[in-house]
């Protein structure tokens, strides 16, 4: 396998041919914040939280091919400001009430806000949508008010489970995740699906019934580490 080198925030890293900037950064232990991207799933480039500057041009790191001698800006005040805006948009687009959400502490949206030092409300208006909750399935519930349209469940169900339980429906601000039937009970979704597993939905939209609030505060995913810690600790090893 041939390889090449490029720089992220002045740190030289090596990449393999065909890798995206994010893939190369992950291998090198440099975390580029992301929400719609997830290891093992196709890249989507939808949330734009992984926006970086590559030779001065703003692009999504998850879909941008790495090239030799690129100079990438990742953790700069300017880029982090953009990311705060994007995460703020996602918060205000839906209804995210952390204190009553069972994903709290394990939620990537919440963890991203902490990582980006978002400690106060933004100037953005709250859209306060009124989206239906689908509790039709015996083992799974969907609280669409918490959905951030990352589409990880869509790709996981399609590409990993081989099912196609979820899909995007609608356009613009009305675009949302639909299910392949009248409701979730009408689909072949199972609680054992990868798409339904805790790691796929980054927020508290896909809920496995009868297992909420099981992890005590202090032991939850992001209680002791920032999001991205698992990638960044590779650099220490």
């Amino acid at each position: 396998m041939s390889g090449f080198a490029f720089q992220i925030d002045g740190v030289e890293i090596t990449a393999k041919d065909g890798q995206t900037i994010m893939e190369a950064a992950d291998d090198a232990g440099i975390y580029i914040p992301r929400l719609c991207d997830h290891e093992g799933l196709r890249h989507q480039g939808g949330c734009r939280v992984c926006t970086i500057k590559s030779n001065g041009r703003s692009v999504a790191a998850c879909t941008e091919p790495a090239r030799a001698d690129l100079s990438v800006e990742n953790e700069t005040p300017h880029i982090n400001k953009l990311r705060r805006d994007l995460v703020g948009m996602l918060f205000n687009e839906g209804n995210h009430l952390c204190p009553i959400c069972e994903a709290s502490g394990n939620c990537e949206l919440q963890a991203m806000a902490y990582r980006l030092d978002m400690t106060a409300p933004t100037l953005f208006p709250y859209l306060e949508p009124c989206r239906p909750v689908d509790a039709s399935h015996s083992d799974i519930a969907l609280d669409n008010n918490r959905c951030i349209s990352c589409g990880r469940c869509v790709r996981a169900s399609q590409d990993v489970d081989g099912k196609g339980v979820f899909g995007y429906v609608g356009r613009g601000i009305h675009r949302h995740i639909g299910v392949n039937g009248a409701d979730l009970a009408d689909t072949d979704a199972a609680v054992t699906d990868f798409a339904i597993s805790a790691e796929v939905c980054p927020v508290g939209c896909i809920i496995r019934k009868r297992e909420g609030f099981t992890r005590p505060i202090g032991t939850r995913e992001y209680d002791n580490h920032l999001i991205g810690h698992d990638i960044e600790k590779k650099r220490d090893d």
Partner: protein
């Protein structure tokens, strides 16, 4: 029980009928947009049953079918009337009296916009710019277009439709006996105000194609490159370079796609070329096919121009008969090329080349990830050249008259002529074919719009300029435009215009990426605050700041340009914004409206507030 049986048999009937429609397209999921358009035309709706039937036939999941059906504005998941009246609600139509027309329709039909009459006969709705700004207010009635509407016309149309007449009968009594061109001409005026040397003057038949056929592909590309021709859709990429990239690929299937999805509000130049120069357009596509080595082509026609479909189909058929399309074109052994007409279904985003390709593939019109670029990985993953209607027409003329002829027209960096669609507050709205390099003021003088206070160059994704900039030159290096020149007099409210255009972008964002999907809604709300006089001084900085994020992080050109109406008016008309900003009085933010903030809670609690309800004592 009876109900269940009836419903069951209807379902079976629907399934059989829908299966027939799918069969017409070989049950091909890539023809999904055609299939769903036909289902919509037949049933005035795409029901769950129909989606299920389409899913079974095409081998897709039902939610994938729903994803397409719910994306396009002209497809509906709920039943529409047998006739749908779509009033164009572009800002130009509003300024031309749309309100009175809409009110007349509402009164005559007994419904409000967005509703269907109780007997299921007629639906009334709004639709964004349908490309008739020079003859506004306009509307689509099923597949026909009516222009220059008045309340009287609205009442007459309603009466005729209620009498059971077809929309076509509104155009001419002998509609069916007219040629497709005559039908189009009856519906829509060309309004050609100035014909230039390249496109709208006299054009000989097939002269460019015949010249191209005695050259090899590389020579054709060299000529197009030497002419200085750049894409006329707005982005201005060198056409010669684009063709060369595609020709150099290593693939045995290449495609030529014509982007006739002219959706930028205020643009209608391609409509004139499609009506008056369809042969020149197909000739240009055929030359491109020769240059690039493509055997297959697609002409993507925006859903709003469906009234031109019979005309285009007739032209394609005529050219097949004459040996100008099909196998061994003009007797050249092995030169095979044919074109399929792909109808759109109401989605501005499909003018973006990746989204257009997605739409041709039967997908929702979402832009594709770049790189790879369409010239190497386009339609179905094959090298694809996507050019605008005007670009192909220019290419055919360049092959006729030579690169130097074209190069010598226009100005440095912007060669040849350009079609300008002029509309709004001017005496002579219409089409002007002029060499690049003239100033906005010169064009305004020709169009009788010298008194303009503001001119929108290139549509809402372009630039709004004030009088101090009217001497700027139209061209790629100064004021770039895909062709829209929208003139606003000093009577117009700039903020009303800006708010309308932001609502347009909110409506047309595909929703794929966060900044465009959500950020544009925030911008629209912020402009609304200015209009209502609720903005703070800090909101001007907020507008600029949010706009910058949307531009920098959006995935495609829509989000990269959607804040332009705000940014360019902040630059050109800063006082308009400053005048609407009130310093906070008595330390209360005017933006906070306690009445509306507590209104929901008040309803829930079923009681009123002694402090905040002004009418409490009553």
């Amino acid at each position: 029980m009876t109900n269940a049986i009836t419903r069951g048999s209807q379902t079976t009937g629907t399934h059989d009928q829908v299966a027939l429609i799918c069969g017409r397209y070989g049950n091909d999921p890539q023809r999904m947009l055609d299939i769903l358009r036909d289902v919509q035309d037949q049933y005035r709706c795409i029901s769950r049953d129909a989606m299920q039937a389409v899913a079974i036939k095409t081998g897709l999941s039902q939610v994938a079918v729903e994803g397409v059906a719910s994306f396009y504005a002209f497809l509906s998941l709920t039943p529409k009337g047998r006739v749908t009246i779509r009033l164009c609600d572009d800002i130009i139509d509003r300024f031309a009296g749309l309100d009175a027309v809409a009110t007349a329709f509402e009164a005559a039909l007994g419904i409000t916009v967005g509703q269907t009459t109780a007997d299921g006969a007629i639906s009334l709705e709004y639709t964004p710019c349908i490309g008739m700004c020079d003859q506004a207010p306009a509307a689509m009635i099923n597949d026909v277009v009516v222009t220059a509407l008045t309340p009287e016309k609205a009442r007459a149309i309603t009466a005729a439709l209620n009498d059971g007449r077809r929309p076509e009968d509104l155009i001419a009594k002998n509609f069916d006996t007219l040629t497709p061109h005559a039908q189009a001409a009856q519906m829509v005026k060309d309004n050609i105000k100035h014909a230039g040397a390249v496109l709208l003057g006299p054009v000989p038949d097939e002269a460019g194609l015949k010249n191209a056929l005695v050259q090899n592909p590389a020579q054709i590309i060299d000529q197009i490159a030497a002419s200085g021709l750049r894409g006329c859709g707005g982005a201005g990429f060198s056409t010669g370079r684009k063709w060369r990239f595609a020709a150099q690929t290593d693939d045995d299937r290449r495609f030529i796609i014509c982007n006739a999805d002219e959706g930028e509000p205020g643009t209608f130049k391609d409509r004139i070329l499609l009506t008056e120069r369809p042969h020149l357009l197909i000739e240009g596509m055929t030359i491109a096919a020769r240059a690039v080595g493509a055997r297959e082509g697609i002409l993507y026609l925006r859903g709003e121009y469906v009234y031109l479909r019979p005309l285009i189909q007739e032209v394609l058929e005529e050219r097949r008969t004459k040996g100008l399309l099909g196998q061994n074109i003009l007797g050249v052994d092995g030169f095979d090329f044919d074109i399929r007409l792909q109808m759109g279904a109401g989605a501005y985003i499909c003018g973006e080349e990746g989204a257009l390709i997605s739409s041709c593939e039967g997908l929702p019109g979402e832009p594709k990830t770049r790189p790879p670029y369409p010239v190497t990985h386009g339609y179905l993953g094959h090298p694809t050249v996507v050019n605008n209607v005007e670009t192909f027409c220019h290419a055919a003329r360049i092959m006729d008259r030579g690169a130097q002829w074209f190069f010598d027209m226009g100005s440095d960096g912007s060669h040849g002529t350009k079609l300008f669609s002029v509309s709004g507050d001017c005496i002579n709205p219409g089409i002007y074919e002029l060499p690049y390099g003239l100033s906005v003021r010169e064009l305004l003088v020709m169009a009788g719009g010298e008194d303009a206070a503001a001119v929108l160059v290139g549509g809402p994704s372009g630039t709004m300029i004030a009088r101090d900039t009217f001497d700027s030159k139209l061209g790629f290096d100064d004021l770039a435009t895909g062709g829209a020149i929208v003139v606003f007099s000093s009577d117009r409210n700039i903020l009303e215009i800006v708010e309308y255009y932001m609502s347009f972008f909110v409506h047309e964002s595909c929703g794929y990426c966060t900044p465009c999907r959500v950020g544009n809604v925030f911008l629209q709300k912020a402009v609304g605050k200015f209009r209502k006089g609720l903005a703070n001084p800090a909101d001007i900085a907020y507008l600029r700041d949010l706009s910058a994020t949307i531009i920098e992080t959006s995935r495609c050109g829509l989000g990269m340009t959607s804040p332009n109406p705000i940014l360019s008016t902040l630059d050109s008309f800063p006082l308009v914004y400053a005048a609407m900003v009130k310093p906070p009085k008595d330390r209360m933010r005017a933006t906070f409206d306690i009445q509306s903030a507590i209104s929901d809670a008040r309803v829930l609690a079923k009681r009123r507030s002694s402090i905040y309800d002004k009418d409490f004592s009553k």
